[in-house]
């Protein structure tokens, strides 16, 4: 569409591979190297959740800035559906998408590493199934979960994509997964593909997961 793809198909392929990295579980990329000079990174989180027996799925993404010791940097340090902007633009959330029916990314988390307080060593991005026990839903019922890492806050073109990560479906009883994280190593920010379960849908409630990070969460409701 009027776009210059370069002199030959071979060039196109090399260019494509150079820009977009397919990560597998545990894999990471060095953002200082792959996206030099860029501080704003966007994680597009997507899933397909259509229950066979009807009933809506409501998945919620959240990003928690952590200190070196693994605890949140403050009692309310979380970017989620009730706090779409944390740290004056350091972490932004696109808002709650309640059915999983949207095309493309369901929810996005945007992080500006330049605005993160210096004590932030890591930002974990997790996705929770809202009301999982009551609705008897778990990640085994969620398909095609994936993360797309973009540079910048807006662009969705192929050239804006730094990496993609398809979560394998090996956490079937989980109600909450860490999808990925941004972490700082030797002063450089890196992105890591994770897929780590935070507990079973029948036994664990979301507020306890969040309290595990040292967050101050109210007592109601037990979801």
């Amino acid at each position: 569409m009027g776009k210059d793809f370069g002199p030959s198909p071979f060039f196109l392929i090399t260019k494509f591979y150079k820009q977009m990295i397919q990560l597998s579980k545990g894999g990471n990329i060095n953002l200082a190297k792959e996206a030099a000079g860029i501080t704003v990174f966007r994680m597009g989180l997507a899933w397909d959740a259509n229950a066979a027996g009807g009933g809506d799925f409501d998945l919620d993404a959240a990003a928690i800035p952590l200190k070196e010791d693994g605890k949140a940097v403050g009692p309310e340090a979380i970017c989620f559906y009730h706090q779409l902007d944390w740290g004056n633009g350091a972490i932004k959330h696109s808002g709650d998408e309640r059915t999983g029916a949207a095309a493309g990314d369901d929810e996005t988390i945007t992080i500006d590493t330049a605005k993160l307080p210096a004590e932030v060593a890591k930002v974990v991005v997790l996705v929770n199934i809202h009301d999982a026990k009551n609705r008897q839903q778990n990640f085994g019922m969620v398909h095609n979960a994936k993360v797309t890492l973009y540079k910048g806050a807006e662009g969705v073109a192929e050239s804006d994509i730094l990496a993609k990560y398809d979560l394998e479906e090996d956490a079937s009883m989980s109600r909450c997964l860490i999808f990925c994280e941004l972490y700082k190593k030797d002063g450089e920010w890196k992105f890591k593909a994770i897929n780590e379960s935070k507990g079973s849908f029948n036994d664990v409630i979301y507020r306890d997961i969040l309290r595990g990070y040292g967050l101050d969460v109210n007592n109601t409701p037990a979801i």
Binding site: Y81, H82, D131, V217, N218, T220
Partner: protein, 213 residues
């Protein structure tokens, strides 16, 4: 504090088995303040007067009526009585106050039913954290009868335990709201803490809850 409640999720018209949930109960349980002296012998007991109330608003947020200790009955709503003391000898496992809401009998003009609780001002008790324990439950009951005993099986819509430093310096809470939507009743937990205390606090909450609809 982070609030995870999204609200608007519980449909009261039918439970998972398709049964109609017609009654909501609002129970509160609390204890007197007991100061112990030498050898654990109780030195003094201070009465604790908490008041549970239900504020009824019309579709546009207009105040219709409030059911509280001084006005115990409205169509579909009954306040079982004012407790001005609290459990005297530790938690007796019973609710001190109960309000019953029969949704099908609530006046057609009522669209919002707010469940609130506050401290009736006395010289001695001013804030929630001074009280040894406060347990509040909003629940539906299997046989549609109120369950004063905390251990009786009920389906909790919202539960609050206020005997906790999180609620220090607070003396009122708007716990939740039942509301009509497309001919059905729904419930959402709110948990909005404030300092609307005493009898005047109830009328202040009547104005305040209009902002929550």
């Amino acid at each position: 504090m982070i609030n995870l409640s999204k609200g608007g999720r519980i449909n009261l018209s039918k439970d998972e088995s398709g049964n109609s949930l017609d009654k909501i109960f609002f129970g509160s349980n609390w204890g007197m303040i007991v100061e112990r002296g030498l050898f654990g012998i109780s030195k003094s007991k201070t009465k604790v007067d908490l008041d549970s109330s239900v504020i009824l608003l019309g579709e546009q947020g207009n105040l219709i009526e409030t059911v509280y200790f001084g006005h115990k009955d409205e169509p579909g709503i009954h306040h079982y009585g004012d407790d001005r003391i609290g459990d005297a000898n530790g938690d007796d496992g019973m609710d001190n106050e109960t309000i019953e809401v029969t949704l099908s009998k609530v006046s057609a003009s009522v669209h919002h039913v707010f469940f609130v609780l506050n401290i009736y001002n006395t010289d001695k008790v001013q804030k929630f954290d001074e009280i040894p324990y406060i347990g509040i439950r909003i629940y539906t009951s299997p046989n549609n009868k109120p369950k004063q005993r905390i251990s009786d099986p009920v389906d909790i819509l919202a539960k609050f335990n206020l005997n906790n430093t999180e609620f220090k310096d607070k003396s009122s809470v708007i716990l939740g709201e039942a509301y009509r939507r497309n001919g059905e009743w729904k419930f959402k937990a709110i948990g909005d803490f404030g300092n609307f205390s005493g009898y005047t606090g109830i009328s202040e909450m009547e104005s305040y809850v209009k902002n929550l609809i």
